[in-house]
């Protein structure tokens, strides 16, 4: 449970950074996940959102570029989709829905292949090029959810409900499809911190990791294919650490890519 608890704490702490201002009058971070300013000196920006403005034909100002570079560097160190499992509030919704799916024993529902997200990423970028606006941001659930929670907008209810039902109907929910996740997964293919099946010879085939993993396709090779690296190299791995938590044989641990 260690990593799960740490992850929840991280997700809530990040929301708290944004909410301490409007709720308590103590301003730490202003803005939202798309772009923010912490303590008046640390800018951050979502590189994918910024990429869309660039594709729409707008060259962004210095602050946003520095912010996006800092964020990109950070995720190159800790793992690309760490955004998905440690930061994004949609993860909480998807995880709750997955938990209910498990409790209600819902097994036979739709699944989405792990490749669809890259198509959506491509479409989102194409939309920006052809419309000249950041069209995808009109609906982008990751940003809408974070923003509506931070700015206390009604959208939080509708988007949250939509994402929840979506995650009940489709295994893995929006997080299997999300173009923002797809973008961060591209960083994940080269990022430094990775989960490693370092003691894969101890694996007793209990399937617990496979059951709990939001992207189970990433586990197969490192765990089962002899001759392949025990490091989970796929960018689709979110570094959530659930496999580390559930494995009774302590097969997995966080490690460096190299």
């Amino acid at each position: 449970m260690k990593w799960l608890i740490l992850r929840r704490l991280s997700q809530l702490a990040i929301l708290a950074l944004f909410l301490s201002g409007p709720l308590l009058g103590v301003w730490i971070t202003r803005g939202s996940l798309a772009g923010s300013m912490t303590l008046d000196f640390l800018p951050m920006a979502d590189p994918f959102t910024l990429l869309q403005t660039a594709l729409a034909g707008h060259f962004p100002a210095g602050t946003a570029i520095i912010g996006a570079l800092l964020v990109t560097l950070f995720y190159l160190l800790v793992g690309g989709r760490v955004f998905c499992s440690w930061v994004c509030p949609v993860n909480i919704i998807t995880d709750v829905a997955s938990w209910i799916r498990k409790k209600l024993d819902i097994k036979h529902t739709s699944t989405v292949g792990p490749g669809l997200r890259y198509w959506l990423l491509a479409i989102a970028c194409t939309l920006a090029i052809f419309s000249g606006i950041t069209a995808w941001e009109t609906i982008n659930p990751a940003n809408v959810m974070a923003r509506s929670l931070i700015f206390a907008m009604q959208d939080a209810i509708w988007m949250g409900l939509g994402l929840f039902i979506f995650a009940l109907l489709i295994k893995g929910g929006w997080c299997r499809i999300c173009p923002t996740g797809a973008f961060y997964s591209l960083l994940g293919f080269v990022s430094l911190t990775k989960v490693k099946a370092s003691k894969r010879e101890n694996c007793d085939n209990c399937n617990a990791c496979y059951q709990v993993c939001p992207e189970p396709q990433v586990l197969i090779d490192p765990l089962k294919t002899t001759g392949s690296s025990p490091v989970i190299r796929s960018g689709q791995c979110t570094n959530c650490g659930r496999c580390i938590d559930v494995c009774s044989q302590d097969v997995f641990r966080f490690a460096r890519r190299f």
Partner: protein
């Protein structure tokens, strides 16, 4: 028999797979359709913070830092079902108008330059253009002495002036008609906010909606005359005067 049931079984699963796959595809298409429709709707009647250009939605990352920077809570973010692009900033002058801060905190907070940092004088902001949309209810047009919009305007006597006209109804009074000068109006919305009517007779509209545009070949005679210092055509040209409603005297009357 066993083989038959196996085939049936696999038929069932493949049908189920097909159905669930189609459902997922339909969901995806529906989401994109929704996104597309909403994206189309982005150029609505909406007022942006100072310094926003025509291509604002191509530059704004919708982070909300301008909203946080606004000391008067003028700025709000568009909701998911609202007009003008989810999460982008706007304001409704009738609720809270722009106070035109001299230090432009909203522009300073913008990380992308979607709010143009070149705009340093708030009086040069062009957030919209006030238009006296309803002359039927405007108290000044009715001949009363309201003029609240005129006095609320931060650029009084520049952005809004009062044009004195004869009140034909009473025959002896003056109408003071508010007239907006687009060159000076920033679109702050103080006028719309202050209008004393139940619904404001003066409203701030996006410039693209409010402003007419002369044909580029148009030349205003009186301006050209002033520029040249004299008339552009020979002054001698004098057309004969024809009086209206002149009927020649009848033959009967002329006859002695």
């Amino acid at each position: 028999m066993k083989a038959a049931s196996d085939i049936q079984q696999s038929g069932l699963t493949s049908r189920r797979k097909f159905l669930s796959g189609s459902a997922a595809a339909a969901c995806g298409v529906a989401l994109f359709g929704l996104g597309g429709c909403m994206a189309k709707d982005e150029s609505g009647v909406i007022l942006r913070p100072p310094g926003a250009s025509e291509e604002f939605l191509g530059a704004c990352i919708r982070c909300g830092q301008c909203v946080r920077a606004c000391p008067y809570n003028t700025l709000k973010l568009v909701g998911l079902f609202g007009q003008g692009g989810t999460g982008s900033p706007y304001f409704e002058p009738r609720q809270v108008s722009c106070e035109m801060c001299e230090d432009l905190p909203c522009i300073k907070a913008c990380p992308t330059g979607a709010l143009d940092p070149q705009l340093t004088d708030v009086n040069k902001a062009k957030m919209g253009l006030a238009v006296l949309v309803d002359q039927e209810t405007c108290l000044n047009y009715l001949g009363l002495r309201c003029g609240v919009c005129y006095r609320a305007c931060p650029s009084i006597d520049k952005a809004i002036t009062l044009d004195a006209r004869h009140n034909q109804r009473s025959g002896k009074h003056t109408l003071f008609l508010p007239k907006i000068h687009s060159e000076h109006c920033t679109g702050c919305g103080k006028c719309e906010k202050s209008c004393v009517l139940e619904a404001s007779a003066i409203k701030v509209l996006p410039r693209s909606l409010a402003k007419g545009e002369l044909g580029h070949h148009y030349r205003l005679g009186w301006e050209e005359k002033e520029k040249k210092g004299s008339s552009l055509i020979p002054e001698a040209l004098d057309l004969p005067d024809r009086m209206p409603e002149f009927t020649p005297p009848s033959f009967e009357e002329v006859k002695p």
